[in-house]
Amino acid sequence: MTAAISSSTAIADFERAFAAHRHRARMQSALVVIVLLALFLLTADFSNFFKVAQVTLSDGTRAERWILLAGLPRLGEYLAKTIPSLGWDTLASDIATWFWRWKIWASLLLETVLIAFMATALGVAGGFVLSFLASRNLSPNRWVLTITRRCLEIARTVPELVFALIFVFCFGVGPMAGVLAIALHTCGSLGKLYSEANENLDMRPLEGVKSSGGSWADQIRYGAVPQVLPNIISYTLLRFEINVRSSSVIGYVGAGGLGQELRTAVSLQEYTDLSALFIIILVSVFIIDWGSEKLRHRLIGLERT
């Protein structure tokens, strides 16, 4: 009997606690939604999303318009300019005219991909080594952890274009500045990503290596690396894809690759050259994305068997 009484009060207690808990959780999520909504509206206003201003219409008159809506047709206008005139009968020669600088573009495309490759290789090497020092669970001490983390932050928060400008100043115009700029940025972001993978490690294999007399480097090499390798390969290939995109614009500041042609085309208003370059970049990025995704899946699949 006493047991029955005590259990019914226990259930009543639970009901009360549960109701209070649910009420708190609901209040919290309501608050989060309100704050996010307010932030969204604020930033939208800040970026002129609601701005109404005087714009010149296509017939030359000026009127009060919501600029977001008024500007959209101009996108089509711009794209239309970049489309070359292609005729069925003269297709071959029209395309030849469109891609008239194809020899230069092909060699610059090769340079772009090589910049991305070299920068990825350097960035991976640096990020890989630093990631172990920047992982909370692996770092030899707090000082090393903090210093490495700050260095990685600097390397990844400074935009590649800024690094490229600095390196062009140091090493002159050409692909080397591009390689170093992208490599530095890659090192920073991969170091961070790798270290997050490291922080999810199962520490027991490392303890096993340590208990048999392995050094810190041995624990990393034998205990940690085999565990994080699939993640590292996956992140590296993704980064290579990103770097191909980066290296195709980095020439804008003279750091090698297709970017310099983009700049020339924009400043000389050679619209059809721009579309030709966009197509080249789009197709090559697509091929690399597709290839590296296949490779990634294959490697992860192989690792699992």
Partner: protein, 268 residues
């Protein structure tokens, strides 16, 4: 090989305000097979980790022969860990590496940086590893990934890794707690044969009393970080057991309930 005693004097370790190990003094002779029993949280695991120096003691001293183990650093600390091998409840193998490489990890203390990073081992080392695996009936699995083996096999790989360390002492932290009775018996038999044939001192944490009685020459009972019993299996009376496990509120203590031995449970 010289025979040394392992001597712990006033060894202690605090985690915040809790004393996980509290003033433990023990003298363990060469070639002894010692079982350490006690309930969860009694400090058994911390004690073994202190001896291997995986955990730093807050007070007290560990000595082996004339050597002060608590003072070791760097290379000589790694050399001590080599001499005092350790196996774990969860095996602590590298699942994604093959069994042979897992065993060769036991040789790392003797390696330089470059050969270790390149995972380069000599033929003699590989032969040593294969012999150790063969002794534990695992030579056919040498090239499989360690993660694909059963728990009992993994624990025997861990023992092979310990063997290639050529240790003086083997510390086993709950080596059979995650194994079924058949595998538990094989692992305990392997520990016994290593103890008998190689003269390696074995210190093993156990949570089943009958295993401790069956295998250990000497049993140490711990409670709340302190050693409260130290003697032979025959001295381990029901009263002592109740004292170690603090089971006053459980009434009659039935060993066969927790037993993992292969025999029908008998009425107490």
């Amino acid at each position: 090989m010289e025979k040394h005693n392992l001597t712990l004097s006033g060894l202690g370790r605090s985690f915040g305000s809790t004393r996980a190990v509290d003033g433990v003094s023990l003298d363990i002779g060469p070639g002894e097979f010692v079982g350490i029993i006690g309930r969860s949280g009694a400090g058994k695991s911390t004690l073994l980790r202190l001896i291997n120096r995986l955990i730093e003691p807050t007070d007290g001293r560990i000595a082996f022969g004339g050597q002060d183990i608590t003072a070791l650093k760097g290379k000589s600390l790694r050399e001590w860990r080599r001499q005092c091998a350790m196996i774990f409840q969860q095996f602590n193998l590298i699942d994604r590496l093959d069994v042979l490489t897992n065993v060769l990890v036991g040789r790392l203390a003797a390696h330089g940086f470059a050969s270790s990073m390149a995972m380069h081992f000599t033929d003699a080392e590989r032969a040593l590893a294969i012999r150790a695996l063969d002794r534990l009936d695992l030579a056919p699995q040498a090239l499989q990934k360690a993660g694909t083996l059963s728990g009992g096999q993994q624990q025997r790989v861990a023992i092979a890794r310990a063997l290639v360390q050529n240790p003086r002492i083997l510390l086993a932290d709950e080596p059979i707690a995650s194994l079924d009775p058949g595998n538990a018996t094989r692992v305990m038999d392997a520990l016994r044969s290593i103890n008998n044939e190689d003269g390696i001192t074995v210190l093993v944490n156990l949570h089943t009393l009958d295993t401790a009685r069956a295998y250990c020459d000497r049993i140490i009972g711990m409670r709340a970080g302190r050693v409260i019993f130290d003697g032979g299996a025959h001295q381990l009376t029901g009263e002592v057991v109740r004292d170690i496990y603090g089971s006053d509120d459980l009434g009659e203590f039935n060993e066969s309930v927790t037993s993992t031995a292969i025999r029908p449970a008998v009425d107490a």
